[in-house]
């Protein structure tokens, strides 16, 4: 049972092709990450799914309804597209009330979503006094109004403080546990890795990957970083393990990196012991989503450069 299905979805803006023959099927329930560099087509895909723009060619279904008839499914979909937009002079409550009225929802629903995003008590203040984080919460509240089966959030943690990010993460997890499907578009790959069960990677309008996050992470090269009890034994340990057939290379912090899965740790330890060297530490190291992302999407723009820098920073720390 899929929540979204596209077949050959293409959208051109003049000479620019934002999406090209995108075919994918997303499972119902769980948190799905939608990632890709700037201009990769994420926003275009979201806008097509929400009926805001029409595809140049191809078809798509949302909640088993064709996108040509958005009226059949949008009452069951909540969305936060790009920056949350509200009438600045109106209060948070009035803004939500206007959207609730548009959807034919009762005022009590406004109270519920205000409570959910933690804006009760600030709801009578004009939105123009809100910080970016508060506007983001209000945007999420607006998306939650219809109690949606499918929630599409573009950069939901943008502008939130750390505690707000944790809250939103918890909220997304709760929604997924309650059987909702949440699609999160984000540049924060560490965030995606933490929250999402399923991942869609798009680059230049093409689908690069669609599948469980765990499957993708399993593709990464795994290794174990080891340290000899005495630093003077490090070079001997390198020679010894290499002679035993392990792929070993020194790390920048004086340890050794061995290409090995976690379950090979015992065998690695035995190799060292056989050579009379005691290991002080063994640390399994897994590739991050950022590294995989860079491998898949190349480094063609600033986002990727930033992602690479972030990956290098993580590695160093």
């Amino acid at each position: 049972m899929s929540v979204i299905k596209t077949a050959g979805l293409t959208r051109r803006f003049g000479e620019v092709t934002a999406l090209e023959h995108l075919t994918l099927e997303l499972p119902r329930a769980g948190v799905i990450g939608l990632v890709g560099p700037n201009g990769s087509g994420k926003s275009t895909l979201i806008r097509i799914l929400l009926g805001l723009i029409a595809p140049t060619s191809g078809t798509a279904e949302v909640l088993n309804e064709p996108i040509s008839a958005p009226g059949r499914y949008l009452q069951r979909v909540g969305a936060l597209v790009e920056n949350p937009a509200f009438v600045p002079g109106l209060s948070a409550r009035a803004n939500l009330m206007s959207l609730a009225r548009l959807r034919g929802l009762p005022a009590s629903r406004v109270d519920e979503v205000l409570r959910t995003v933690g804006l009760t008590g600030r709801d009578t203040e004009p939105v123009k006094r809100f910080s970016l984080g508060m506007k983001q919460r209000l945007g999420i509240a607006a998306a939650l109004l219809p109690d949606p089966e499918l929630l599409i959030l573009d950069e939901p943690t943008n502008g939130l403080d750390p505690s707000g990010i944790v809250e939103i993460r918890g909220l997304l997890a709760d929604l997924a546990r309650a059987g909702r499907t949440v699609i999160v578009s984000s540049h924060l790959l560490a965030e995606i890795e933490t929250v999402c069960d399923y991942l869609v990677v798009i680059r230049f309008g093409h689908l690069v990957y669609s599948g469980p996050v765990t499957d993708l992470l399993a593709r990464t090269s795994r290794r174990i970083e080891i340290a000899a009890e005495h630093a003077r034994d490090t070079s001997s340990l390198l020679t010894l393990l290499s002679a035993d057939g392990w792929q070993v290379e020194p790390t920048s912090d004086g340890r050794l990196g061995v290409a090995a899965d976690e379950h090979e740790g015992a065998e690695l330890n035995r190799s060292a012991t056989r050579g009379g060297i005691t290991l002080k530490s063994m640390t399994p190291v897994r590739g991050s989503l950022e590294e995989i992302f860079l491998e898949m999407t190349g480094d063609s723009d600033q986002d990727l450069t930033a992602a690479r820098a972030a990956a290098a920073e993580r590695k160093a720390s």
């Binding site: 009226g71 009438v87 002079g89 009330m97």
Partner: protein, 265 residues
């Protein structure tokens, strides 16, 4: 449909919009009545009507329905203000990005647009009422200040007021729909207002001078005639029919543009 109107009413209930629109209406009412009293009461020759402004004669002003002459004289000014506010509210949805939220919440774009038209029509009716009340207060004061005899103003008050209210409302609705269409096409309040005001001040005068045959069919002339309850060259029925035609054409264009164009903002 009612939900869409109620939603739009709530969104447009902003101090800036309401006070600005109502305030300008009261200002223009005071201005036109004061100037009109001095002009019609003086022995000087009546000045040529400026763009969008036409003054009554002394006899017309002192007649029973003269009490509402200020409304029809200032109708084009009110009209430009109405066009501006309809355009600001409509184009503002695009510049703020609010249109993404509303179009996702109400995918039936016909309903969404008609909801906006309904809400703005209600605001226009409120503004028309404000203009009428302001005129009822200011016109007698202006007449007294110019020492004019307006004793006939007490006759047939209700039919006179009802007729003037309806004619001004009909006129402002056409102006508003023009603002709506311009805003949907240009997606910019500034461009829409510039085009609307430029048309009233310049383009229609040029068209009328160049093509005398269509002078009585142009929107400005038609709407002036509608506000006045008909003129010598454009009877009331013709003005009403042309006003309705402009409204329907405008709504047709607005609905087509709104339904077919992508929401990329």
């Amino acid at each position: 449909m009612i939900n869409a109107v109620r939603s739009e009413l709530l969104r447009t209930r902003r101090k800036g919009v309401v006070l600005g629109w109502f305030g300008l209406t009261i200002l223009f009412t005071a201005m036109i009545n004061m100037v009109m009293a001095q002009v019609v009461g003086s022995s000087r020759a009546q000045p040529e009507g400026g763009p969008g402004v036409s003054f009554p004669t002394l006899d017309q002003w002192q007649a029973a329905d003269g009490i509402t002459a200020g409304l029809s004289s200032a109708a084009s000014m009110y009209g430009v203000v109405a066009l501006s506010f309809w355009a600001i509210v409509t184009a503002g949805d695009y510049s703020s990005g609010l249109i993404r939220l509303t179009a996702s919440a109400q995918p039936d774009r016909v309903r969404l647009l008609l909801g906006k038209v309904g809400a703005l029509s209600l605001w226009t009716a409120a503004v028309t009422t404000v203009a009428l009340i302001a005129n009822l207060i200011i016109a007698p004061m202006a007449a007294r200040s110019a020492d004019l005899d307006v004793s006939a103003w007490g006759q047939d008050v209700l039919p006179t007021l009802a007729g003037a209210w309806f004619n001004l409302l009909a006129t402002l609705l056409v102006w508003g729909v023009i603002g709506l269409v311009l805003a949907l096409v240009t997606r910019s309040a500034a461009v829409s207002i510039s085009v609307g005001v430029g048309y009233v001040l310049v383009v229609e005068a040029v068209i009328t001078a160049a093509l005398d045959a269509i002078a009585d069919w142009t929107p400005g002339a038609t709407l002036s005639a509608l506000a006045q309850g008909g003129t010598g060259s454009i009877p009331y029925g013709t003005a009403l029919a042309l006003g309705a035609l402009y409204t329907l054409l405008g709504l047709g264009v607005a609905l087509t543009v709104f339904q077919r164009r992508d929401i990329t903002d």
